[in-house]
């Protein structure tokens, strides 16, 4: 069961959630906190880049349908900016837009409604892939 997720070395990992649905935010926060992550929120896509530069989240989970800059445009912005391109992006949406999410450069896509097992597992997988990617980049730079 998702609620039995163990605490791991992820306990300082910051996750920024972009969603205007208060129920989704509350439940995401609950399950991700339980899995050992720190969760911050934004309700619109407009100030996410600015917020991300201050918070240094490892992953941003965004709905596509958010006020202001939509989730896909936000993803393109983040991946196109050298300051934020290493932040992993998980598109978590009501829209079945897996192909568009991929085209926008997202690291993963999840379809709503919220299923805690799938959410936590995907976040872990995306973070692991990101860390691996960063380790190889650092290794290449050193050599």
């Amino acid at each position: 069961m998702g609620s039995q997720t163990q605490l791991s070395g992820d306990d300082k990992t910051i996750i920024l959630v972009v969603d205007r649905n208060s129920h989704i935010c509350e439940l995401e926060s609950h399950f991700l906190n339980k899995a050992g992550y720190v969760v911050e929120f934004e309700q619109s896509g407009d100030s996410v880049v600015e917020h991300a530069l201050k918070l240094h989240p490892e992953i941003i989970i965004t709905e596509i349908l958010v006020p202001g800059v939509d989730g896909l445009a936000l993803c393109r912005q983040l991946k196109g900016d050298p300051r934020t391109r290493d932040i992993a992006v998980l598109i978590f949406s009501t829209l079945a837009a897996v192909v568009r999410a991929k085209e926008a450069g997202a690291d993963a896509f999840l379809l709503k409604p919220l299923a805690e097992d799938a959410l936590v597992a995907t976040v872990r997988q995306v973070l692991e892939a990101r860390r691996e990617r960063l380790r190889s980049t650092q290794h290449e730079q050193r050599s």
Binding site: M1, S3, E26, L27, L110
Partner: protein
């Protein structure tokens, strides 16, 4: 990129290719009505008057899906006390003690709602989602919560929040309630739910007929109309309304013949009735319809076929006796290939009869069916149009499956009138045979006349018919 788009085909243009997952209701037949079950992650209302079977349906659904790593939460509110609900639950065969308290968790919300008002529901559901992660939530009764709301506005706001919460989380919800039809347009929950299923009762003479009807099932097709059901120790026993098979237009017709078992008749039909055809056998009382039906079945049994005889007048013992009189003692092999359905004319329901016929067809490869008589089936249908819809669908199913059928009809008229009732019967039958009785100079004589035999050459002349202890035979073909 990982793709966890469960239920989504990822289609990007126009309508997404969603393949909705279904949860079984615990009833194969109800699942058939719902095209596979209740859609996962949907919000549904089960409505009906007290005693209509709402709780039974919900409980059967709960136990059919209990197990796995997420529990099911059953919340009672202000209708039946929890102890009573659990007491009666144990009488059902689907009840599983092992699952109580773990896979299935019952909780009473009545006191909390009575003390704190309707506002108590939202935090309670949030708490349940956070602590239990329930895959199914049942609220029994949701309508009862209306009585606690101090205003319509309060109820609407609560409902807005509840619907938002339950839509955000991956859980399937049943809201039970003693709603009336007029509530559908006035109660806000009907606008937000994905599915509406009604359980109701219809007075038919001295008995009640229960029926289930799907009003709405967002994102899914379903079988519309009234489906009769019973409540048994297995839960709801549903008899889905019969519809014509989709493959009706594409099946391949068997070109072989099915001998009738009546000496002399097959030579009038250039070898026998077409296999897979429907034959209407019409005649007055005492004209020999039942006897010919028995001969038709006996002929099939002699040829090693499986046969089904549906009868409304004589019980299986009487019928077996009649069969032995005509055809001699049936050996064990013949008896094993014969299915006899007897329905009392008092407790007839056409849906049940039809579903039982289909179950028999599914169980084994039945080649011949006799329904004796259509007049009794008409009583069971309660209205002639419904009867014809059923009969048409039944005959179509028989044709698709290559089952040769003989349907008897009591009529005093020598020629069937072209009215709405008999006209329909005439059109749906491939073959029509009349058994007629005429009095000439004080002597009653019998004749057999073939009025129609679709696709085969046939003798249109009336032929003299005799009935003796071995059944019917055409006089020219006396054995």
């Amino acid at each position: 990129m990982s793709n966890e788009a469960s239920g989504a085909g990822g289609s990007e243009k126009g309508v997404a290719d969603f393949s909705i997952k279904r949860l079984s209701t615990g009833s194969v037949e109800l699942d058939e009505v719902l095209q596979g079950g209740i859609p996962e992650n949907s919000l549904n209302i089960i409505m009906g008057e007290p005693g209509s079977g709402k709780t039974t349906l919900a409980e059967a659904f709960v136990f059919a899906n209990a197990g796995g790593d997420r529990p099911i939460l059953y919340l009672t509110t202000l209708s039946e006390p929890l102890d009573k609900v659990i007491k009666y639950l144990q009488a059902f065969r689907f009840f599983d003690m092992e699952k109580m308290g773990s896979a299935v968790q019952y909780e009473a919300l009545g006191d909390e709602l009575a003390t704190k008002g309707v506002g108590a529901l939202l935090p309670r559901l949030k708490d349940a989602i956070k602590t239990l992660s329930p895959k199914i939530i049942v609220i029994d009764s949701f309508k009862a919560i209306h009585d606690l709301a101090t205003s319509n506005q309060e109820m609407r706001l609560m409902l807005h929040e509840i619907a938002g919460l339950l839509a955000a989380y991956n859980t399937t919800v049943l809201l039970l309630g003693e709603y009336r039809h007029e509530d559908i347009v006035t109660f806000p929950e009907f606008a937000v739910v994905d599915g509406i299923i009604e359980l109701a009762r219809n007075a038919l003479g001295t008995r009640d007929e229960r029926y289930i009807r799907v009003f709405k099932l967002r994102g899914s097709s379903y079988r519309p109309g009234f489906h009769v059901f019973d409540i048994t120790s297995d839960g709801l026993q549903v008899y889905p309304r019969l519809v014509s098979p989709v493959e009706a237009a594409s099946y391949k017709r068997d070109s072989s013949r099915t001998p009738s078992g009546v000496p002399g008749l097959d030579s009038m039909l250039a070898g026998g009735l077409s296999t897979g055809s429907a034959t209407l056998l019409a005649g007055a009382t005492g004209s020999g319809k039942t006897t010919m039906g028995i001969q038709y079945i006996l002929e099939g049994l002699r040829r090693g076929e499986r046969c089904l005889l549906v009868n409304f007048q004589e019980n299986p013992t009487q019928l077996a006796h009649q069969m032995e009189q005509i055809g001699g003692k049936l050996d064990a092999d013949m008896r094993s290939r014969l299915e006899l359905f007897y329905y009392s004319a008092v407790e007839l329901s056409i849906d049940k009869i039809v579903v039982n016929i289909f179950r028999a067809l599914r169980r084994s490869v039945i080649r011949r069916v006799v329904i004796d008589a259509l007049g009794d089936l008409a009583v069971a249908a309660s209205d002639p149009i419904r009867m014809h819809h059923y009969l048409y669908a039944l005959v179509q199913h028989f044709a698709v499956q290559g089952v040769s059928s003989l349907l008897t009809l009591e009529t005093d008229l020598p020629i069937m009138p072209n009215d709405e009732h008999d006209g329909r019967l005439r059109h749906m039958s491939d073959n029509i045979i009349f058994l007629e009785m005429k009095t000439t100079e004080g002597i009653v004589g019998r004749t057999l006349r073939i009025a129609k035999a679709r696709g085969i050459a046939h003798d249109l002349q009336p032929r003299e018919l005799k009935i003796d202890d071995r059944g019917l035979h055409i006089v020219e073909a006396r054995r």
